[in-house]
């Protein structure tokens, strides 16, 4: 064979090999329980952000659960075992989702008083007569105190709606923002609401993200600020933010920001935490794993994954509930009335 022709053939083979190098690394894997277990464990290993903070030895978790995996254990059995493994992370942001269900870790609120009863509020405080807009329920309560209930930071609220709501309360002596049972949502909504209670930019906290797969590969904390909503109504009178253990994720972040403000008092129970910004990844079988990937620190650089203590700790009293009293809400009204 002539050398020139040989070179051509080598060139063609090299080009073909070049194509083969791309995106073919799954070809040797089979979609079975072992593959998916290893995928799940590895995704957590490389992306979860609270191993050190929580003192979790993820390698020993693998050693405990991997021997229990078998390819004929069935989808439900495999799913349940994975859920059991994920519970060792003690994280409400960690969920495995399949077509037939999701795993949850709920101990962050299950082991504590509920401290919220919507029926009591609607019946005895709002008299089933209130405004609702942009995910916010609001009304003037007794003693000239305004009341806002925001059930989810997933509910986007426009600046115009917020202007109307705050205008409604301009004559009130104080305002209650109730974020009990608020399990979070979008951080941008945290900023939208919090920006109505600051008169100058404040350092609200820091964002940290992973820079690599090792457990301690973290970026330098990046500060983020809350600025006053220019051109919109700001509220400068005393504010009480009501919390319970079901105040989680973005709602926890909202409390973290509001607690920085001198006119704001946090009343109720410790929040549920959930300060890690969750990322989601597919497993090879199509299930999704959500996990805390990016910690959000408070303004002093502390993690609030385990929650934020209130300024005034109070639980709802079961006896008072029987007669339609919300002790946390009553305490907030009393506090705002006395703080004048």
């Amino acid at each position: 064979m002539k050398p020139k022709r040989l070179l051509y053939i080598i060139g063609i083979v090299l080009v073909a090999q070049l194509q083969a190098c791309f995106v073919n690394d799954d070809l040797s894997l089979e979609n079975n329980a072992h593959t998916n277990f290893d995928a799940l464990w590895n995704i957590i290993d490389q992306h979860y952000c609270f191993f050190e903070y929580k003192g979790v030895d993820w390698d020993s978790v693998y050693n405990e659960y991997a021997p229990r995996i078998s390819d004929n254990m069935g989808s439900q059995g495999f799913f349940n075992l994975c859920g059991e493994m994920l519970a060792t992370l003690q994280d409400g942001h960690v969920n495995l989702s399949s077509a037939f269900g999701s795993t949850y870790y709920w101990k962050w609120f299950q082991d504590y008083p509920v401290n919220y009863d919507e029926r009591i509020i609607h019946e005895h405080y709002l008299q089933f007569d209130f405004f609702a807009a942009g995910g916010i329920t609001y009304k003037k309560l007794r003693d000239n105190i305004g009341y806002i209930y925001y059930d989810s930071f997933n509910s986007s609220i426009s600046s115009t709606t917020l202007d109307y709501i705050l205008a409604h309360f301009t004559t009130c002596d104080g305002l209650i923002i109730d974020v009990r049972n608020n399990c979070g949502g979008s951080l941008t909504n945290v900023e939208v609401i919090a920006s109505r209670f600051v008169t100058e930019p404040i350092l609200a906290g820091y964002l940290v993200h992973k820079t690599g797969p090792a457990h301690n590969d973290f970026s330098e904390p990046y500060p983020f600020h809350i600025k006053p909503a220019e051109g919109h109504i700001l509220y400068g009178k005393p504010v009480a933010v009501l919390t319970n253990r079901h105040t989680f994720s973005a709602a926890n972040n909202f409390v973290q920001v509001m607690k920085l403000l001198p006119q704001v008092t946090i009343i109720g129970d410790r929040t549920g935490g959930g300060s890690g910004l969750p990322f989601t990844y597919n497993l090879p079988n199509g299930w999704n794993i959500r996990l805390s990937a990016s910690p959000i620190l408070d303004a002093e650089g502390n993690d609030t994954e385990w929650g934020i203590d209130p300024d005034i700790k109070i639980d709802m009293a079961p006896d008072a509930q029987q007669i339609g009293c919300d002790a946390i809400l009553d305490r907030a009204i009393e506090h705002l009335t006395n703080v004048q």
Binding site: D26, A39, I43, F279, P284, N288, S294
Partner: protein, 285 residues
């Protein structure tokens, strides 16, 4: 009956055009090609998911090319504009869903070189390309999107071979585009776009070289000239890769193309001797 005659006349018009002797001096207006493409797509973006996705892809390409008169038409410029959309699922199970779509633009300046082989011409030069691609994985979370943006400079070259199949003039071409250096955007390993949006651009833009970014674009086209225009069929392969911030991104597209080409953009149709304005490739040798 009259309408039938028109239809018959239209059908035979291309054959009439083919039979014309190409004797006049070729002219070089902007040669335009519009291509529709469809085929397979395979991708991995570890920012979204550590596993491979495969599926289908469709696209639209517009090619503009013109020879420049100085130096006996030995320099040509070429502009390529492309849009693509793809729909992929996890390769291993067919579950999950990642869609991708983007736009790209390339400007190239190439020098023509004749060869001893009759009908074969080589073009080589440099190009600048802009590329924007977005990927969305439908798994939710705070990392559903991955945005790719890239500007690069590199080499391009093409081999063009003109021949006739019977009386049908054909121009076959292979073109390679190989970006060498550039700049591309990639957030850090697990940095949310929310953090980027807040203003953290640290380590977001990267100098792209073959150490961390390798792209290649291969095109094979066959133009079958039918009078004043050409029917184009071909194959288009595109590979985009980045390895940065411990994240890996690869997109491989294999598309078959069909389209048409010719002097589409000329406003003054009388300006040129249209039967001979078949393609850029009809240049004096």
């Amino acid at each position: 009956m009259k309408r039938l005659l028109y239809i018959v006349a239209l059908l035979f018009l291309p054959l009439y055009a083919l039979s014309q002797e190409v004797t006049a001096k070729p002219q070089c207006p902007v040669f335009t090609a519009i291509e529709f493409e469809g085929g397979g797509s395979r991708l991995i973006d570890t920012y979204l998911s550590p596993y491979c996705y495969s599926g289908w892809n469709i696209g639209l390409n517009v090619e503009l090319m013109q020879a420049l008169k100085p130096d006996n038409y030995s320099w040509v410029w070429q502009q390529l504009i492309g849009l693509n959309y793809g729909y992929t699922r996890l390769s291993m199970s067919g579950a999950g869903l990642t869609i991708h779509g983007g736009a790209n633009y390339s400007f190239a300046m190439m020098h023509r070189s004749d060869t001893p082989i009759d009908g074969l011409q080589l073009y080589y030069g440099g190009n600048i390309s802009l590329m924007g691609e977005g990927l969305e994985n439908y798994h939710g979370g705070n990392n559903p999107l991955s945005v790719k943006a890239d500007i690069s400079a590199g080499f391009t070259g093409m081999a063009v071979y003109s021949f006739a199949l019977g009386k049908l003039p054909i121009t076959a071409r292979y073109q390679l585009m190989l970006p060498v250096v550039g700049v591309f955007a990639q957030p850090e390993y697990a940095e949310s776009y929310y953090e980027v949006w807040l203003g953290n651009y640290n380590n977001f833009l990267h100098c792209g070289t073959w150490a961390n970014r390798f792209d290649i674009d291969n095109r094979i086209t066959v133009d079958m000239h039918m009078g004043t225009w050409a029917l184009r069929i071909g194959y288009h392969n595109r590979i985009n890769t980045t390895y940065e911030n411990n994240n890996r991104y690869q997109l491989v597209l294999h598309n078959f193309t069909v389209g048409f080409a010719g002097d589409i953009l000329s406003v003054d149709y009388k300006k040129y001797n249209r039967p001979i304005v078949r393609a850029l490739y009809q240049l004096p040798q």
